[in-house]
Structures are given as C-alpha cells and as structure tokens.
Amino acid sequence: EPEVTQTPSHQVTQMGQEVILRCVPISNHLYFYWYRQILGQKVEFLVSFYNNEISEKSEIFDDQFSVERPDGSNFTLKIRSTKLEDSAMYFCASSVVTSTDTQYFGPGTRLTVL
C-alpha cells in the first residue's frame, strides 16, 4: 500500500543552524502538508502546498520556514535558523483532492534543537 515517507527520522542540530526535512508524498496525491507536534501537545498545521505554491499557512509558518517541491517526488520543509522552540515532531501529509480528502501522514521527523 502506498505511504508517505520522511527522512531523516531524527535530526539533531545546533540553534541557529539550517535544517531541511524531506518527504516523499504518495505518488498520485496533489496536496501536500506539513504539521508539527511539540511533545505532549496537539498536532498543529504549518502549511499546505498545491500546484507548486503555498495554498494555506498558519501563524507558526513565519519567514524562517519555507517549503519546496524540488522535483517530481520530494517535498521539503526548510527552517533557516532553528530555535530551541522548533524542537518537535514534524509530520508530512498528502491527499488527493476529492470529497473525502483524507490526509495520509508520514512517520515524522523528530527535530531536536540544542
């Protein structure tokens, strides 16, 4: 069964460093998303991406964040200058835009900022 994959599974970085989190969405899906989950808290929406542009973003998704679809399969989230509070699980998701519009999630990348 097709699934969303993410790499790396765990990323440790120093505060102020740039990180890129990678995702391969399900191949026939058209919408891509990033969410994050700080330990012990709710899953929070960051950004959605459709037709090579951002379609929706939350207040969390400030100028330090960017997304890109560099080729036909990958979808990346870049954090330019990481802060301690960026430490969280980051989940990529994808969906086919239908009436049910189910979003399928990847296993996540645990980002630890020291």
């Binding site: 969410y35 709710k42 989940f91 189910t102 645990r110």
Partner: protein, 111 residues
C-alpha cells in the same frame, strides 16, 4: 479559530468493556478524520466521515458524524488490550484545507 475538543482526555478500562470517545466543535467541517497515533510515530488513519449523520464501522469500532457536521464519536465494543493508544479526531473545513486536530484521547485497556 476552529477548535475541536475531545473527551475524555484519558480513559482506563478493563478488557471487554465498551467505550465512547467524543469530538465536539462549534464549527462545521466538510469532513472529519479519526486517527490513531503510537508514541513517536505519525497519525494512522482509521476512518473519514463526510456526510451528516453518517455511521461507519471498522470491526469493533463505530464512528458517527453528527447531523450538523460539528461533532463526531468513536465507539469501541468489547475493547481489547491492542486498542490501547492515542485516538485523534481532525476536521477540515474544505477539501485541501488544513486539518484542525483535537487534543486526543489516551486509551488504556487493561487485561
């Protein structure tokens, strides 16, 4: 701001008991999804409901979407220890839109 409130937050029951988890909002959603999440992993889809009043069954799990599409419930019959986990509801306003997640219900089923 859309909010989804889940209740209860924690539930500890004996194997064989029945339980219901609730997901409530003042907002209308075009679809509502239920996920199960294990520690350190991504949410795994259980079901999507889209029609007001819809009932879907997945073995011993029964999901219902409220008539006004503002609330949903998950009922588990004869719970088993393997049902232990975190159950999340998440709603979308429109297709392709962000999901708003509830805070989750952490279920523990004791043998």
């Amino acid at each position: 701001t859309q909010l989804l409130e889940q209740s209860p937050q924690f539930l500890s029951i004996q194997e064989g008991e029945n339980l219901t988890v609730y997901c409530n909002s003042s907002s209308v959603f075009s679809s509502l999804q239920w996920y199960r999440q294990e520690p350190g992993e991504g949410p795994v889809l259980l079901v999507t409901v889209v029609t007001g009043g819809e009932v879907k069954k997945l073995k011993r799990l029964t999901f219902q979407f409220g008539d006004a599409r503002k609330d949903s419930s998950l009922h588990i019959t004869a719970a088993q220890t393997g049902d232990t986990g975190l159950y999340l509801c998440a709603g979308a306003k429109n297709a392709g839109n962000m999901l708003t997640f509830g805070g989750g219900t952490r279920l523990m089923v004791k043998p």
